[in-house]
Symmetry: C2
């Protein structure tokens, strides 16, 4: 069995690490799906374990509370979405309009909806609030850096920092307007208008 090429210990640890990663990934995706479908109040650890097809024991081993599970899920899916956005940006048009549209559509997504559930719950839950504030700072920095990169902008120039921050506030406002009804058409108008403004600025 070629044990001389790879000791059983190493192989077992590798397989275990893969399984752990796979379990976590399933839990993360099930959590976001559950937040979108049933909201914060319907996202219990039991419900998520069931959706993910993971035993309660395995789930509790990784995440002790609903707050931990949900914050980890938003962070994990957030990081994956940022990577997906970067890949999409590489093959997309490089115009300001195309980039603002990409960023706006990225925000008007299930991930934003899941994050909104977490943010609103955190407002009235002191322990969760601390956790989410950290997550907010990390995700905020990452999305700001990505927007800067995609817009090919230099924020050491005057006004650029404000312009990029305003763009991110705008797309969050647009994402909010998309929660109860499909706002795609109106969003396209506002995005086109904003991109024109921004292009003159940058």
């Amino acid at each position: 069995m070629f044990v001389w090429r790879n000791t059983p210990g190493v192989e077992t640890r590798q397989r275990q690490a893969d399984r752990t990663r796979e379990t976590k990934r399933k839990l993360m995706e099930a959590t976001v799906e559950c937040l979108v479908e049933r909201g914060w109040s319907g996202t219990t650890t039991t419900e998520v374990a069931e959706r993910a097809g993971v035993s309660r024991g395995a789930q509790l081993h990784h995440f002790r509370t609903r707050g931990e599970l949900v914050a980890a899920a938003v962070e994990h899916v957030g990081a994956e979405s940022v990577e997906a956005l970067k890949r999409r940006a590489q093959v997309a048009e490089k115009s300001t309009h195309a980039v603002v549209e990409l960023i706006a559509d990225f925000h008007a997504s299930d991930l934003f909806t899941a994050a909104l559930e977490l943010w609103v719950a955190a407002r009235t839950d002191p322990e969760l609030r601390e956790q989410v504030l950290e997550l907010q700072a990390r995700l905020g920095r990452e999305v700001y850096g990505l927007a800067l990169e995609l817009l090919d902008a230099d924020d050491s120039k005057p006004g650029v920092r404000d312009a990029v921050q305003a763009t991110l506030d705008l797309v969050r406002g647009l994402a909010l307007a998309n929660q109860l009804a499909d706002d795609t058409k109106r969003r396209a108008h506002v995005v086109r208008y904003w991109a024109r403004m921004l292009e003159e600025q940058l």
Copy 2:
């Protein structure tokens, strides 16, 4: 007792109408306060009746469900806030910057926080969703009209409609960023930036 000047029936009905209005006002304000302090899940009809100092019977007479109570409260306090904003705008500076600041601060308020709780709850509650969509359309029209008036803008001119809508999406995004931590300082920067852009536009 001067009953010849005002029949007892009319006087009683008048007093009753005043009491009803006063009861409703107390319930509306207690509801918004409760949403801000305890969120949607902590805003029960029992809790609101207690805060308002209104009997459960009187409350149930006016609002049968939590959804009815909360939607009415957001609409009532929303209308009152719009009036307060109009009064403030009359005595404030008329510059684009002063107006955008007024609108942004109006949104980064307890009323927005209460509305956000209602909107997020409505997303996963079909009955509430229908109700909130109507409210969203009414409030949206009202705030759009008010912004147009305060900015002294004419939306029959090209681009003005998009500019005002983008302003409202932006201030909603800014309000969202103010939920977990005080974002006043950053907001002031973004507002100043946007007011400069908008002034060139209008």
